[in-house]
């Protein structure tokens, strides 16, 4: 038997003006979980799109099971047994699981779709790999984790032997991640091979056998995971030493900046999502909110920032009541907001990066005078921020859409922090970013804290909350159920609180 199921040798892929892949070699053994590690924009996705037939390489060869192949489109890839589980699911929401899986290769009997046979096959596959997916459930009714399993089933149904997972854990809760890891292990046991695209070192250490690192489009090398450690991997990926442990001084909290009292906010279905929440954040501290997604975090942020009407209760910033004021008024009171979804809320992607830098201040001097914009001043400001925050962009005129995720996020942070708001809300500020960018963003948040600002951090990554916060408030079903000191708590304890459990008080009989 040949050693490798997939060999991509010396792949080179160019786009106008840049070399996305420069002489990269990736060899995947049968039955292994192989990590493809690299920063945002390092060229991981390009390489996988080459393997999946979406791009044609300029140079290099691809071998599947030892035979040289030319993958001209995704159908060829499918026939060769290569399946891709996309990061952004490609599912029809009002179709059932089975309907989604057979989409594009519907089995027919006398001109009619034979849905029953398909459902049976889906359910068999689901059982065999421990996916526990209901073939008749509608996509819109099942959780994100379940939807991802449908994507996995889709590739298995089409006979995939090699599965590519594109950052599969980015959208999952910790529990779902655990389950996904089990599924991946099961798949490998059954003889499948997996390529895992990720920049999360913890996952690589946990599940992967080998790891290929690419940096700025170049292949850095392949290492056995058992012979390496996170520090080495991070250094390989970024090209320098990376500090995982956030270094910070003890916080010196001062006056209360944000004061939330008995807040009630309803969600889009008019159900109370934030339900009688009390919270204070002081100047000079980072308050982290830990909680499972969907416990009112989004509505809490939208309530504070004026994007959603507050039903009852009050919100004060620096003692000033801002409850239900227009978003602009609240922003002017001294609020900075790094939004959870940078594409939806954070940026106007079709505007240049320069125009995005003044998204809240374009109508103020010096950017605007009697209603006429001063683009000279706007771009001058943008150039300054781009330089100061190391936003990698060809110029301030480049559309925000053209930047990588990490640089888009840096641009948002530059804009929000530069306004020097008394209260900075950071919602999932490092979502989907690589270690280099995460390190930068964390240090900025701490810098703001040290400048005497109040920082409210909302994150689904426990590690982040524990590392960066000075106090952790646990949110559960729209209420703060407990506030703990990150130095005196553990992931286990937080996990328990997040699930609605009670803390066992030490020293109490």
């Amino acid at each position: 038997m040949q050693e490798y199921v997939i060999e991509m040798n010396n792949i080179r892929k160019e786009f106008p003006g840049i070399v996305a892949n420069d002489n990269i070699t990736l060899q995947v053994k049968k039955g292994e979980i192989h990590a493809l590690l690299g920063e945002n924009g390092a060229g991981k996705s390009t390489l996988m799109n080459v393997l999946f037939g979406l791009y044609q390489p300029e140079k290099g060869e691809i071998k599947v099971k030892g035979k040289e192949v030319k993958i001209t489109d995704p159908n060829v890839a499918n026939r060769l047994g290569i399946g891709m589980v996309h990061q952004h699911f490609m599912l029809v929401h009002n179709f059932t699981v089975t309907e989604n899986i057979i989409l594009g290769s519907e089995p027919t009997k006398g001109g009619k779709i034979n849905i029953e046979d398909a459902a049976k096959k889906v359910s068999e596959l689901s059982q065999r790999y421990g996916l526990s997916v209901d073939p008749h459930a509608k996509i819109e009714d099942i959780s994100v984790g379940m939807q991802q399993r449908v994507e996995i089933l889709k590739t298995l149904y089409r006979g995939a032997e090699i599965l590519i997972f594109d950052e599969p854990t980015a959208v999952l809760t910790p529990q779902e991640i655990k389950e996904l890891i089990q599924i991946m292990e099961k798949l490998v046991q059954e003889g499948k091979s997996i390529i895992l695209i990720t920049h999360k070192l913890k996952e690589i250490m946990e599940v992967c056998d080998r790891c290929t690192v690419i940096r700025k489009g170049k292949g850095i090398g392949t290492v056995n995971v058992s012979e390496t450690n996170p520090d080495e991997l991070a250094a390989l990926m970024v090209g320098r030493e990376v500090h995982f442990k956030v270094e910070k001084q003890q916080a010196t909290p001062k006056d209360v900046v944000l004061e939330i009292d008995q807040l009630v906010v309803h969600d889009a279905r008019d159900i109370p999502s934030v339900n009688g929440l009390d919270l204070n954040v002081r100047a000079g501290e980072i308050l982290g909110i830990a909680g499972v997604d969907g416990n009112g975090q989004t509505e809490l942020i939208e309530g504070i920032t004026g994007l959603r009407k507050v039903k009852s209760g009050s919100i004060k910033i620096n003692g000033k009541d801002v409850t239900n004021l227009p978003a602009r008024k609240i922003t002017e009171t001294g609020l900075g907001h790094i939004p959870q979804d940078r594409h939806k809320h954070g940026l106007v992607l079709d505007y240049s990066i320069g125009a995005n830098m003044v998204l809240q201040t374009y109508y103020q001097k010096p950017f605007s005078k009697s209603g006429i914009l001063n683009y000279g001043k706007i771009y001058e400001k943008a150039r300054k921020l781009i330089e100061e925050y190391d936003v990698r962009t060809p110029s301030e005129f480049t559309p925000a859409r053209a930047l990588s995720g990490g640089n888009q996020q840096k641009a948002i942070i530059a804009r929000e922090v530069d306004r020097s708001p008394d209260l900075l809300i950071a919602a999932q500020p490092t979502r989907g970013l690589d270690v280099g960018a995460i390190e930068f963003i964390h240090s900025k948040l701490i810098e703001e804290r040290d400048n005497g600002k109040a920082v409210l951090l909302i994150s689904f990554e426990l590690e982040e909350v524990m590392n960066v916060s000075d106090r952790i408030a646990v949110i559960y079903e729209g209420r703060i159920v407990d506030i703990v000191d990150p130095k005196e708590t553990s992931e286990q304890e937080l996990g328990l609180l997040m699930a609605g459990g009670k803390r066992e008080r030490e020293g109490v009989l």
Partner: protein
């Protein structure tokens, strides 16, 4: 990356130009298939467009309302709205301009200005209705504007019959003081109906460009068009901007009506069907890539084609309906600009 941006800009200019040429070529092929002489046909067509001073004058005259209705479509489109109601806004603007032009007696410059403003206000209000309905009740502007076109058609006809009827399906004529027509312009173009409206249209084009590119309001309008969520996040009032955009768009359309009322016809006809100018505005904006300058150029092309159609029929015996086919084909090619992009990209790659 810089290269890519430059290419992008080049494409934006190339696609309409290539489309116009392809549309004409396809028109020539159709002439051949219909047993007409394409050489004679195009000779007559071009001479009808700009062969004589009079032809040039007529081309520019026809372009004036087209520019304004193209600006109306383009302005709305740049702010994320699809104004199909330019035709209706044009009709109410036309009526308003004729009414002010007929009912008041004022000094010349003031009267013209007031009549044009009346047209802009009427069109603006007519555009504001779908804007308001969209902002407050999330009713899609395409549905409302289409329906308001019919309302405008029949209401203007009814109002003329009731209050302004001069007989023979026409309204009273406007006073000389409200007229845009110019013996001077007519004379230098050897008897065309060219009037001062083209100046209004060019000024309006500059205004559109200025609002969108230079003002804080334009920044907001475009931002709301690109991404409502981010605009809300940034503290902009999305509803206000939707209403404002439709109002400004309607005002441009209303002024297009004034071109007809104060310029070409000096009155308004009791119409039983649409003028088509408002719908041509969609084609004009599409070919002009929603850019103020591009809209001027594409209006001149479409205006010229329309005015030259009878001459092509007369001189070369080619049916004037062929012009409609050519215009439709140009739009078809612009809309398939994606294909042109792909082909051009392939060529430029191989040319390397």
């Amino acid at each position: 990356m810089q290269n890519l941006l430059k290419n992008e800009r080049l494409f934006n200019i190339l696609v309409p130009v290539i489309s116009a040429i392809l549309g004409m070529l396809a028109g020539a092929i159709i002439m051949v298939l219909g047993n007409y002489d394409p050489v004679a046909g195009f000779e007559a067509l071009f001479s009808g467009m700009f062969g004589t001073p009079k032809a040039i004058g007529e081309t520019i005259r026809a372009a004036s309302p087209l520019i304004l209705s193209g600006l109306a479509v383009g302005f709305a489109f740049k702010t994320g709205l699809f104004n199909i109601g330019v035709e209706g806004q044009l009709l109410v603007g036309w009526l308003a301009s004729v009414w002010v032009g007929y009912a008041f007696e004022l000094p010349a410059v003031l009267h013209v200005t007031l009549s044009i403003l009346a047209a802009a206000v009427a069109g603006g209000l007519w555009g504001m209705i779908p804007g308001y309905l969209k902002a407050k009740f999330k009713v899609h502007e395409v549905i409302v504007t289409i329906m308001l076109n019919y309302v405008a058609l029949y209401v203007t006809a009814d109002l003329i019959k009731r209050y302004l009827y001069a007989g023979n399906e026409k309204s009273y004529r406007i006073h000389e003081s409200a007229s845009l027509s110019s013996p001077f312009l007519s004379q230098i173009t050897e008897g065309s109906r060219l009037h001062w409206g083209i100046m209004i249209a060019l000024i309006a084009a500059v205004i559109m460009w200025f609002i969108l590119e230079k003002t804080a309001t334009g920044y907001e309008l475009k931002s709301v068009g690109y991404n409502q969520h981010a605009s809300m996040y940034a503290g902009m009032n999305v509803s206000k901007n939707v209403i404002l955009s439709m109002t400004i768009s309607g005002a441009f359309a209303g002024m297009a009506g004034a071109m007809e009322g104060l310029g070409t016809f000096q009155n308004m006809t009791v119409l039983s069907s649409f003028t088509g100018t408002g719908f041509d505005g969609i084609a004009v904006a599409l070919l002009g890539a929603n850019n103020a300058f591009g809209i001027i150029l594409s209006s001149l092309l479409f205006g010229g084609l329309n005015t030259a159609a009878p001459q092509m029929n007369f001189d070369a015996n080619v049916p004037s309906e062929l012009i409609k086919i050519i215009i439709a084909l140009i739009i078809f090619f612009v809309a398939s600009g994606y294909i042109i992009r792909v082909i051009a990209a392939r060529f430029s790659k191989e040319g390397k």
